[in-house]
């Protein structure tokens, strides 16, 4: 009886040890298996502006109250047009900064006179909601110098970006942490 009990205990201990050892081995195996696939740096989300179809989802699908996606301006590509189709609606009444002549619903684009007949357009990121209305306008008739980018000072870098899930053109990518932006016209400038 005593022996029998001892044997049972021994068997149990052996079983336990085996399970313990095998689970440690499993974890080590998993770690080793994935080791070759790890990237030392983290990845962040970014929009590929060449694929983006400026649908406007960025304004509404971000987990943040204020979307982390904002309009960005590649100045080197801009034509500095007086009639800016990113700033003004189609058939504008006048070419000025009146509320009725602004395409942007929040007035986040600042139009400044540079020299005749050129105007500079800057984005006020505090106001921009990422609706991409200006991007659509600029792409349609202009040089396409306005485009959408995730601003990493705002982005909380969700494991799965909820705008990426809702993006119709699947323009969201995971990019390496040290190259967090895909800028338009970046290869044109040294």
């Amino acid at each position: 009886m005593q022996n029998n009990k001892k044997e049972t205990i021994n068997r149990r201990r052996f079983l336990k040890e085996t399970c313990f050892g095998s689970s440690i081995a499993a974890l080590a195996g998993l770690a080793a298996g994935l080791w070759s696939k790890t990237s030392p740096a983290k990845t962040v989300w970014q929009i590929d502006p060449e694929i983006c179809s400026s649908c406007g989802n960025c304004a509404t699908y971000c987990v943040l109250e204020e979307s982390a996606v904002k309009c960005v301006h590649a100045y080197a590509m801009c034509g500095y047009c007086d009639l800016c189709t990113g700033y003004l609606p189609p058939d504008p009444k006048d070419m000025d900064t009146g509320a009725e002549n602004e395409l942007c619903p929040t007035g986040a684009i600042i139009r400044t006179f540079v020299e005749d007949p050129y105007y500079e357009y800057t984005i006020d990121e505090k106001l921009c909601i990422g609706c991409a209305k200006c991007v659509k306008g600029c792409d349609a008739f202009g040089n396409g110098s306005l485009f959408m980018q995730i601003r990493h000072d705002r982005c909380v870098n969700c494991n799965e970006c909820s705008i990426a899930v809702a993006c119709p053109s699947q323009a969201f990518k995971r990019v390496p942490f040290d190259k967090p932006y895909i800028l338009k016209g970046a290869n044109n400038t040294p």
Partner: protein, 580 residues
């Protein structure tokens, strides 16, 4: 019991209860505030946004309604303020709510710790029965859950599903049976319309036999309609289907007009005035104006270029598709070459400066995208002829005349096919192609017949013949494949034999002529600046058919369609034809 009483009196317990109550009340208030704000933003803000869109539309329709404008601006400001305020509120409100809820939970726990009841180990229980019941219930619950999940899965099985493999095979088969739809009209479709200056081939010949030979401007007999063109221009009308297009421009304005073929009603106006570009208007002669270049179309979009170097595309129903600025052309009299089409490419002959300036180029622009398809530099000086795309025996050729080179290109790629050094300064008449030969004019001096089958520099070999009498300086030639006709600005109409250039006859008319002669139904149509339309037989013997007159100034070559002639004067557009 006594313990509990003691605790109730404990000041810490009272504090805990008080904090619990206060944080609960605070949380409730914040929840209400957030809910109100949320309802506001989901109901009121979108309504406002819609109202703003409506107001903006009203402003476009009534640009001078100051009342609406003021209201719109006020509403817009209010809308923006609300949005910023709401985001601020939401940020702070949510944080406060979370803090108060955490405080509530912590203080509740603290408070309840004071009156925790001791466990009661003496309660009656039948552990064995409980275990057995648990086991059997456990099985039942698992079974019920499994049945529930399985029924969901089975329900899904009954739903229709798409077999993409099959769909892919079907789509492939369909694709193989169907020829690809080209993104441009066929050669035949081009020929059925009048899509460019002097018609589909740019040679001023209409394929229709039922072109009227005259009209009476006073009785309006033979005149279908007449309509005002809002902006001046010397360009010729073009026709596609049921629509006539022409452009007009002043120093500051550039517009495209679309008229209905049957009624002459102005269907839409396309505006290219406020495009970025040069700050000063180009130097042009009064005789050239700002809109001398004729438009072109591929039946999908219409394209127009102006003396300022602005080129734009509108869809046939008037939506702007793209616009570009090619840079102000350096042209002595003002840019005047017309556009032409090859498949989906808009061909621009952009000759400017002097021969050595290397400024001149041919540009082919993709009609749908507005992007340059190809661009070829050429060593020619500023010239005014229009390019033509013709179908020779072997291929399509883009033939251009300029000072001093006549150059032919492959219109698809811009590759140079052949070139001939035979022209001089102030080249204006456009080349034509007829029955295997191209004809170009050196103003006042020579009409030259060229063979188009060469390769490279064919100056020595390609010239078939040249005639030197009765040579115009502006009007382009026209040919019916057996004779070639020229018309000088002074009114001398000459007829040359097609094969050897022998002059067959010549006839002088009164008046000045800028519009090029055209051929329709074996008749030659001449239009003088004063408004005379002279119709003569296109034959080896001179024979006048009829004369008609409109009291208007005609500079532009007319467009011919089925039974109709479209004549553009500086300010009006006329449609000649028999009423049905």
């Amino acid at each position: 019991m006594t313990n509990e009483k003691q605790n109730k009196l404990s000041p810490w317990h009272q504090t805990a209860v008080a904090i619990t109550l206060i944080s609960a009340i605070v949380a409730c208030i914040i929840v209400i505030a957030i809910s109100i704000s949320y309802v506001k933003t989901t109901i009121v803000q979108p309504e406002r946004e819609e109202q703003l869109v409506r107001l903006k539309q009203i402003i476009i329709d009534q640009p001078n309604n100051q009342q609406v404008l003021d209201f719109l601006r006020e509403l817009d400001l209010e809308f923006r303020k609300q949005r910023t305020a709401r985001i601020e509120f939401a940020k702070k409100g949510n944080l406060l709510l979370i803090i108060s809820l955490i405080a509530f939970a912590l203080s509740f726990k603290w408070a309840s710790a004071f009156k925790q009841q001791l466990p009661n180990p003496c309660k009656e229980s039948n552990d064995l029965a409980e275990q057995i019941i648990n086991a059997s219930w456990s099985r039942r619950a698992i079974l019920a859950g499994v049945i529930l999940l399985a029924s969901i899965a089975i329900y899904n099985l009954t739903q229709p599903d798409i077999d993409f493999d099959k769909a892919s095979v079907l789509a492939k088969a369909e694709n193989e049976n169907k020829p690809p739809i080209p993104a441009f009209p066929t050669f035949e479709e081009f020929n059925d319309n009048w899509p460019a200056f002097r018609g589909p081939q740019g040679n001023g010949v209409s394929k229709h036999a039922n072109i009227p030979t005259g009209f009476n401007a006073e009785t309006k007999e033979g005149m279908l309609w007449q309509t005002n063109v809002p902006l001046p221009g010397f360009n010729s009308p073009i026709v596609w289907g049921e629509k006539v297009f022409l452009s007009g421009a002043t120093e500051t304005q550039r517009q495209i007009f679309c008229f209905d073929v049957n009624s002459g009603e102005l269907l839409w106006t396309g505006d290219l005035s406020s495009l970025p570009g040069a700050t000063e208007p180009p130097d042009v002669m009064e005789d050239t104006g700002f809109a001398a270049s004729s438009m072109t179309t591929d039946g999908i979009n219409v394209y127009a270029i102006f003396a300022s170097g602005h080129i734009g595309a509108f869809s046939l129903d008037g939506k702007k598709v793209w616009a570009r600025y090619l840079g102000i052309p350096d042209s002595t009299y003002g840019y005047a070459s017309s556009l032409t089409m090859y498949q989906n490419l808009v061909i621009v002959q952009y000759d400017q400066g002097e021969t050595d300036d290397e400024l001149s180029k041919m540009i082919a622009i993709n009609g749908q995208t507005g992007k340059t398809a190809w661009e070829t530099k050429r060593s020619v000086a500023n010239s005014w002829p229009s390019p033509i795309v013709v179908k020779t025996e072997s291929s399509f050729q883009l033939i251009t005349a300029a000072d001093p080179w006549v150059i032919s290109y492959d219109p698809a790629t811009g590759k140079q096919l052949w070139q001939i050094d035979c022209l001089g300064t102030d080249s204006a008449p456009s080349p034509i192609y007829a029955n295997g030969l191209a004809f170009v004019i050196m103003p006042y001096s020579e009409l030259i017949a060229l063979d188009t089958n060469g390769q490279g520099d064919v100056t020595e070999t390609a010239i078939k013949w040249a005639a030197d009498e009765g040579i115009p300086d502006i009007c382009s030639p026209v040919s019916n494949d057996s004779e070639v006709f020229t018309l000088t600005t002074g009114g001398t109409l000459s007829c040359f034999n097609f094969s050897d250039g022998k002059k067959l006859w010549e006839k002088e008319f009164d008046g000045e002529f800028n519009a090029s002669p055209s051929i329709a139904a074996d008749n030659l149509f001449l239009f003088s600046i004063k408004g005379d339309m002279i119709v003569v037989k296109a034959s080896p013997k001179f024979e006048e058919v009829r004369r008609s007159k409109i009291n208007d100034k005609v500079y532009a070559s007319p467009a011919f369609m089925d039974g109709k002639i479209f004549i553009r004067s500086v300010e009006n557009l006329y449609c000649i034809g028999a009423a049905n």
